[in-house]
Symmetry: C2
Subunit: 345 residues, 2 copies
DNA sequence: CTGAAAGCGCTAACAC
DNA sequence: GTGTTAGCGCTTTCAG
């Protein structure tokens, strides 16, 4: 019933535990004859080393914790998949926790994972001042590597590693794409400006406008709540004042707000990619369900996952994977074109 | 740097390890005064018990392994989210492995998780004869509970627990919905019949037809490869022979094939929900991007996750959660309506 | 009420 | 080459 131990094997073979251990691990001198005898016997049994005991002795769990707000988000599950691929090759496994957007749950998991002594932690926190909580400090005091994804705490310790999106570049790319298609009167629907993602994307919009000698009209800047209803309301507002403040294109700076904005446009009897050009942010339609297809800037999830995976290995085993060159990285968004943008003129 | 141990604490307090252990775990007699002294001291330190050591002693890891082919699939990440919610309340954490549809990787993970001595395993295997591999047997010999999801091996041991979809009922529901809308000439695009999901869904189609005294026309049954291109080709075939074998509606028995079929219909200049009614299988468009919206039968992912979670707890701690009543469960699909079905007559 | 001691399964000096 | 031993951090008898 209970799995066999080295001791069991050793007893049956009339050998010492250490000898068996040596052949199992393939390290240390063992006479070829004995080695074979052990190997043959092992083949008939079903011995699998107990990693828990190994962990206790070696003081490393060979596990990496991942804490995130919602596993259903495409962004997260893709990243995890990549991280898994990269680190599992080095023998690490992933302990995953979904906080369901709850700070309380996030803290509980932070504790639980520390108890389990994860060798490193990847976290997309919703608790933006982790430096102040003892929860994260435990890891830091410990020297346990932490990598933040999606967002990162303001705290500027060099212990704070992250891989996040370059929001400025992303929205610049979006707006530039509209401009390249001949649009000049461009509205933006951004998220709350007190959140970095909201603020930075809005700045990106302004940067692109100014780089093209266009003046962002304050009336064409709408601020929503990152959700579909926010996008809907913002779009409504923009449309209602359209005779006074005309625009031919809009950049919506989050996925859900894009969904809402599209609905508002449709309900106003207008056609996307004809009456109004739309470029979204991180809109996922890999199945190609939307007609017209939605142009959007997107985060390179695979790249993020790979970078996080590699950074983990470098942080955990620098002697093997080299010291990480950069532990604060901002990845670039890419353009996914779609028929929601029409050429002007 | 290294986290403190009971020993460290005990030494500083001039107490024995066992006394400190008792107050940390709140079990066993400790004089109220000493208890307070320990508690006060602990508050100033930052002691977190080492779960690895606890696990070794207790012979349980408080972790549950999950092995699945692709974390990006909505079906899986929702289930995991629910399982996590349920079992984490009981102190378990999830070790997750994405095999990327590879049998070899699946086996490697099966081994790794056994090494880590997971207390239970949830698996969506792609290796349909696990009974023959020693990989799964190790767990079974061990008494380690295994729950299969999505599909299950043919092997009919009572050790094989599963929570899977009732495919017959799902396709029956789909076809019945078409019939209820007045359709009688109904085509089906099913997956390969040597896979249970392909076969059972096709049977469900036949059952619904027969229950309504309709004769499934063999020419209206197309078999594809479960992927978008398969769905596309099948739909093409059906459309090309439509004058000889007319139909007004089609049930496509997998998500990706539905996507392909929709494209084929569009490219033939026909309109879904007008010229042809379509009901898909497990089509996910929670963002509501598709127009018209796609009617589909869907798996109740949340229910599956909850059932698996509860079953795990019951299998692991029957004294606390009661013995599981049923360990082979088939959940029912539900209907998600959409404008891809038009009423006939 | 508290402490000493054994042992979970494994690794790694260190002897022989 | 192989065995003995100590010890990773914890829980849990068993003495005192």
């Amino acid at each position: 019933m209970k799995p066999e131990t080295l001791k069991d094997i050793a007893k049956e073979l009339n050998l010492s535990i250490s000898t068996v251990s040596r052949v199992v691990n393939g390290k240390g001198y063992v006479k070829e004859e004995t080695r074979q005898r052990v190997l043959d016997f092992l083949a008939t049994r079903n011995y699998v080393p107990n990693e828990i005991a190994r962990s206790l002795k070696a003081q490393e769990s060979m596990t990496i914790g991942i804490i995130l707000p919602d596993l259903r988000e495409v962004y997260f599950n893709r990243i995890i998949k990549e991280i898994d691929r990269v680190v599992s090759a080095a023998g690490y496994m992933l302990l995953i926790a979904d906080t369901n957007e709850s700070k309380k749950t996030e803290r509980r998991y932070l504790d639980l994972m520390f108890q389990k002594r994860v060798d490193a932690l990847v976290i997309s926190t919703i608790d933006m001042d982790p430096a102040e909580t003892p929860y994260v400090e435990r890891y830091l005091n410990n020297g346990t590597p932490i990598i933040f994804i999606d967002n990162h705490p303001k705290l500027d310790s060099d212990q704070v590693n992250f891989v996040v999106l370059d929001n400025h570049q992303a929205s610049r790319l979006a707006v530039q794409t509209l401009i390249d298609n001949g649009h000049r009167d461009i509205a933006v629907i951004a998220g709350y400006l007190d959140e970095p993602t909201g603020y930075e994307r809005m700045e990106g919009y302004c940067q692109a406008m100014e780089a093209n000698d266009l003046h962002p009209d304050p009336a064409l800047i709408a601020i929503g709540n990152f959700k579909a209803d926010g996008g809907y309301r913002c779009m409504e507002e923009l449309l209602l004042q359209r005779d006074v403040h005309p625009f031919t294109a809009v950049h919506v700076a989050s996925e859900m707000m894009t969904i809402g904005a599209l609905r508002a446009i449709r309900e106003h009897g207008l056609t996307v990619g004809q009456d109004i050009a739309v470029i979204g942010f991180d809109v996922h339609d890999d199945l190609g369900l939307a007609t017209p297809t939605i142009a959007t800037v997107r985060q390179p999830e695979e790249e993020v996952g790979q970078r996080v995976g590699l950074m983990l290995l470098q942080l955990l085993r620098p002697e093997k994977y080299g010291a990480p060159e950069e532990t604060k990285v901002r990845v670039k968004a890419y353009l996914q074109s779609g028929s929601s943008i029409h050429k002007l003129q």
